[in-house]
Symmetry: C2
Subunit: 364 residues, 2 copies
């Protein structure tokens, strides 16, 4: 088992990563002072429920925790105020009190929704993450929780740190292969923004990771969480440094929105976005090699590197205008300066981004 602390002063918390660690859930809950007296609510979605819920509930019950389950529909539309209201209903019916905890068992959708429920129920109760997707290594660090509004993603939310994160590699074995790849896209991002050696390691270990080799996977998730946690510890509220985590996300989010959530997975969309950022780097005079390495890496992982031709450039640009990263009209853009390093540029023009979007349509 690997252990990592996300260092946020009073709000610091540990991430446990390893094979079979769910078996010790009761011990870890006890260690982190989760209450056996107050009821607990386990949120999961209807795809994860048949695979992993029963086991988690049984382990909690055996461990003396009074847990009730609440199952939401799988998929991005579940991150809504309507589902939040449903969770609060379940929480009230289960009798949750101020010492209770909400446990998220699932991917980033469940984590973000359950996390916002924990942040706002009674103005904040305790929260535990049990991520079951690779992508959720990302959402399990940093405390960003949110639901969507019909007009904008993640626009209603909070910063709410969990008490602990329990990442059992075994739960990932049921993950569809497309989700595996999309999740690894965000792992690779953590290499690209911070750690050249890890990027190289990702290049060398693609086969192992794609085959969910436990040791490789556990290491990659550890480094992914580690990089994110270093960044977040230095800038919990996204005032400056934290923005580097958005590498590939400006274009990525716009693509997700325009394609209609579902056609492109988040990890796929940001892979395209990272290739775009590398292209932009070229235009700012940085090494061409950045673009080649980035693109080949994503190709190796079976991830898309070009924008589907039928997506309209105008619509993509429009979607970007609603992006939260436009602070007081200025466009903030994350650009790689070498492999493992990025910079936050504030001088990128809309015309430049439009050109990149056009170029990304021809990429292959």
């Amino acid at each position: 088992m690997r252990e990592l602390t996300v260092d946020l002063g009073e709000r610091s918390y540990p991430i446990y990563i390893g094979q079979g660690i769910l078996n010790n859930i009761a011990g870890l809950f006890e260690k982190h002072q989760l209450s056996r007296k107050s009821p607990m609510l386990v949120i999961t979605d209807d795809e994860v429920a048949p695979l992993h819920l029963e086991r988690v509930m049984a382990l909690l019950r055996e461990g003396g925790f009074a847990a009730t389950a609440c199952i939401v529909p799988a998929g991005e539309p579940t991150k809504s105020l309507a589902q939040l209201e449903g969770i609060v209903t379940a929480a009230l019916e289960a009798g949750l009190d101020r010492s209770s905890a909400i446990v998220a068992l699932g991917g980033g959708v469940v984590g973000d929704l359950a996390g916002f429920a924990a942040a706002s129920f009674m103005r904040g109760i305790r929260f535990v993450q049990i991520p079951t997707t690779i992508l959720a290594h990302d959402s399990s660090v940093g405390g960003k929780v949110a639901v969507n509004h019909p007009m904008a993603k993640n626009i209603i939310g909070a910063f709410h740190q969990p008490e602990l994160v329990l990442f059992d590699i075994d739960t990932l074995l049921t993950l569809p292969s497309r989700q595996v790849k999309a999740g690894l896209s965000e792992v690779i991002k953590h290499g690209l923004i911070w750690d050249e050696a890890f990027t190289q390691w990702c290049d060398d270990n693609a086969e192992k990771l794609l085959a969910l080799d436990p040791e490789a996977l556990s290491y990659a998730l550890y480094i992914g969480c580690k990089v994110k946690s270093i960044v977040v510890s230095q800038d919990e509220r996204e005032n400056d440094l934290r923005a580097i985590l958005n590498l590939g996300h400006t274009i990525g989010h716009a693509l997700e929105a325009v394609a209609g959530y579902g056609e492109l997975l988040h990890g796929e969309a940001i892979a395209i976005g990272m290739v775009g950022a590398a292209k932009l780097a070229q235009q700012f005079g940085y090494d061409e090699n950045i673009h080649t390495v980035t693109k080949n890496l994503f190709l190796k992982y079976g991830l898309p590197v070009s924008i589907p031709a039928h997506l309209d450039t105008g619509s993509i640009m429009n979607a970007m205008m609603h992006d939260k990263k436009f602070k007081e009209g200025t466009m903030v853009y994350i650009i790689p300066t070498e492999i493992g390093k990025v910079e936050i540029r504030k001088d990128v023009t809309v015309a430049q981004v439009r050109q990149i979007v056009e170029l990304l349509k021809g990429e292959s």
Copy 2:
């Protein structure tokens, strides 16, 4: 103009109280670094709008602030997730960004709803309170913001401190007399829990306050805010001391819920609750005088001191069981030990409270 600082470290903020201070809104907004570049959203309700909105919008416009108004229906049901969604729509349409502010112009309903919108929009933007009810002196201190769930009041919310509070006594002149009395109930509460001399002053100045005499009103609101701010500064997150602010609220909230929101105003319900707490004090051996003084004070202000006979005791008790103040099954109750002092008791039984509820039905 009176000024008061709510002392919360990094999150400290000033409350300005006085006649005509809205005229200087642009100056105060500038002093507190509200952005002229980013759009601002002013939330108000449809009863306050025709009385005060135009003036506020004009003053902001003249002062160079780009404000858009958003009008919600007046009344408690507006504190809902549905209205929150509507505000977020308005915020997105007005183009709010991370440097924007949401301004609440209205009573506690608008303050709580707009405050939760500010707390959760983009995971938290700036917030300004312009209270237009007496009761809102209470909600303007402490940063508690929330919406209701059909099953429970204030159950979905956050702690989000404003940048400043601008309390213009002139806006109170349009307040219906029943709202004046109900608001003064919460002012009196601040005397009862903390300040014997102020309680005496309230007894001596009832006529002036009920007539909205500017100097008396301004002083009373100042002391009310002051007491609350001292308590909140010592316990921002309601771990212990802050609970004393709930004097009268355990029964009060239950009465509001059972009567159906609207029949009893919040201030009226807690007046009855405070008389109940004084009765309970008697049973714990404290001076009988507490009950007499409390009851006569509320009678003087034209506030109710007994539970309407048609409200069912069983339903009232049931409503209390959903109350957030039941921590891990223990009943926490605030009881006066003398005028101007209270204690937090954790040993009050349901049977004792039921008896008080019965007694309160006979009170007259």
